[in-house]
């Protein structure tokens, strides 16, 4: 087991995280848009387009948030140590 406090592993963990977060939000957004198109209103392709844009925004937002969260704790640690 690698040392948990190792900054390399913390950094690797963050990097791996952000990639999937971007992709998952994009897929969910596109999927919801497509589902609205196909099953609710029959407005292909507008739901898909709007869904993809919203999904991209959501992905960016969660990536930004996790990057922010990553920045905060080290600041606290520095204060204490």
């Amino acid at each position: 087991m690698p040392p948990p406090q190792d900054p390399l592993y913390a950094g690797l963990g963050q990097a791996v995280r952000i990639g999937t977060e971007l992709l998952a939000a994009l897929i969910v957004g596109g999927g919801l848009g497509w589902a609205v198109d196909t099953y609710l209103f029959g407005t292909i392709p507008w739901g898909l387009v709007i869904g993809l844009v919203l999904g991209l925004a959501a992905g960016m937002r969660s990536a930004y948030r996790s990057a922010q969260r990553w920045q905060d704790p080290p600041a606290d640690v520095n204060k204490q140590g």
Binding site: M1, P2, P4, Y9, L12, G13, V16, R17, T20, E21, L23, A24, A25, I27, V28, G29, L32, L54, G55, A57, A58, G59, R61, S62, R69, D72, P73
Partner: protein, 249 residues
Amino acid sequence: MEESPLHQFELQPWVPMSIGGLDISINKAVVFMWVVIAVAAVLMVMAGSSRKLVPGKLQSLAEMMVEFIRNMIMETMGKDGMRFFPLVATLFVFILFSNYIGLIPGTYTVTSQIIVTAVFSFLVYGISLVVGFSLHGVKFLGILVPPGTPGWLVPLMIPIEIISQIARPISLAVRLFANMTAGHVMLAVLFGLTVGGGLLIGWLPFVFTVAIYGLEFGIAFIQAYIFTILTCVYLGDAFHLHGHEEHAH
């Protein structure tokens, strides 16, 4: 060489069983899930049985792990989060052990089945919703409007936040599954090349097989860590609604 690198993930029923049309056959994945649980339980009980003040090797390893999980919870949720310790520790130990046991040649990686990781991630997300609504009631829906959002942005923010909430359990499940699957496929391909390449060129993929195997040791830990820390983050979000933003001030 003629064997597909994906062949290792195929499951044949070993003991075919079904209840009312529901297939509950026992296959390799089920057996290795039991193995993981048994190994983890036996090791942890053994580590906890001596309770010496100056711990032995096994006991200090277990203490390190417990301390590590405790720190994760304290950092993300604070002291109140310790009530989730059993859940978080169980998830971490199970995922860690199944990732590492899966690295032993001839075994099966339970976490390379998306249904396993999906059950975990939807369980975690479901718990976080239950916790959020039981603690904050309807106000928990405020998680969809981050504090500091200008009024005119709210109609845009709500669909975006709904999407990012739905994406949470999906990205949690897919990340663990994809990493474990991709690593094992890569090892299978490289080792297939080694066997097919013969002595003349086969040493080259073999070197890479060994290197990637070493990398997979790190990945096995990192993925267990990420799954657990995100569990803590999601539970923490439900726990203190907008708490993170308050800390930042």
